[in-house]
Symmetry: C7
Subunit: 94 residues, 7 copies
């Protein structure tokens, strides 16, 4: 099963924040802030067809997005978020 | 009887979420979250006439839409929702 | 006496919802939800002059509209609603 | 003394609603809803210069307007309302 | 000292409403509603340069404006209001 | 040290209101209303490059601006405000 | 690891405000107002490709930005803020 985002939408999967602090203590989940880092899963055709946007993001990229933007979705026990291209702020390059 | 959506509107029918959890327990209806997955019933002429939008969705497609968007309607004992094309986020492909 | 809507406005008349449920029980009026189905009474010249909109609706059509949109009006003991073309969501075809 | 509305503004004068109901009872003023029917007093040059708007309304026309739209004004003991052309919904033709 | 309004701004000076009612009684100031009639003091260059707006208002004109629009200003013991051209609704002609 | 405003932004410095009233009484600071008169300190390139805006304001001009508009900033013990050109309402000419 | 901002976004790093007042007293952190001065870390391609924006800011510039604008992000124990170019108000030149 596959998700094909429409127009300028992007399917992302939130990346869990590190659970251990610098000093090595594991934080209980209630103390963890919601992550605004995610992996790109699928990219709408409106992005790859747009001269200014194409090549800005690729599937598999780690990206920073506007926290709380987008719509959450659960499909086959996996959680996804669908956001607009303009809610992606930056790509984290290795 | 038939519903012909105008301009860029789409008639959809919400898909009931699975009633059994992974462990096989049937959840009572109050515990079920409202679904944001639906089936496309009819597509406005403004979409099929638009070069960028035509072919993005087809009748019968399962789609993810912005929860709470659109207007609900009951016709001949069936419930429908009418939303704008831009509130459809992704198509679920098999 | 006649109502000529301006620009892209449409004069509609709300259709009373069925008062009997499937099982034949007549619901008291307080239990009836406000209808979002109406009949088209008059169409603004801005619609019939617009290539993309002309022919989408005709006088006498039953339409679905955005509930609570528009301005209500009482004229010669009859109640009308004036809405914009974009608040008409779909035509109910027989 | 005269009021010349600017651009796409229109000067209107609200028409008092009928004070007697169908059965002939005179309603006290507190029971009367505010009228959204008015007479056109003056039309801005931006309307008569606009190909799409000119001829849609004339001085003396009875019109339906968006209740509560516009600015009220008292001049020489007469009350006027100044609204935008787009807040005029329909002309009542005889 | 002089005020030169920028772009489409207009400097106006509110006209005090008549203090005596039709029957000749002088109203105490708390009973007086704030006036929405003013005199035009200065007109921005953006207005006199605009083909559609030039000539619509002149310095010295009595105008009706959107009450509460604009910014108030006290200069050399005189009170002025600076509003946009679009907040001027009509000119009162003698 | 220097502030170079971007695009259509303007750096201004608020002018203290006169501290003595007409009758010569010095008002304690809490009774003074916040000033909406300021001196222009620096002008963004987007203004001097714009045919319609260039020449409307100059460095050193006393201007009236929309009170509470803009962002305040303290730099080397001096307070500045950065506003958009459109929030400058008028120039006070001597 | 690197942050590549998309379109017209800019990655900045807030500059700590001076901790000592003019008289040399160190203020406890709760008394310090949040800084709206930052250093530019990375600039989106949409800015360097735009004739009107390119050259306005450079990496390493100290800039003033609209306080509370943007999205905060923690990466490898460093805090960043991602804002739009239009939320940068001025560059502080030495």
């Amino acid at each position: 099963m596959n998700l094909k985002p429409l127009e300028d939408k992007v399917v992302i999967k939130k990346v869990e924040q590190e659970e251990t602090t610098a000093s090595g203590i594991v934080l209980p989940s209630s103390a963890k802030e919601e992550s605004n880092i995610a992996e790109v899963i699928a990219i709408g055709k409106g992005i790859s067809d747009d001269e200014k946007k194409q090549g800005e993001i690729s599937i598999g990229d780690k990206v920073v997005f506007s926290k709380y933007a987008g719509t959450e979705l659960e499909l086959e026990e996996e959680k996804y978020t669908i956001i607009k291209f303009s809610d992606i702020l930056a790509v984290i390059e290795k």
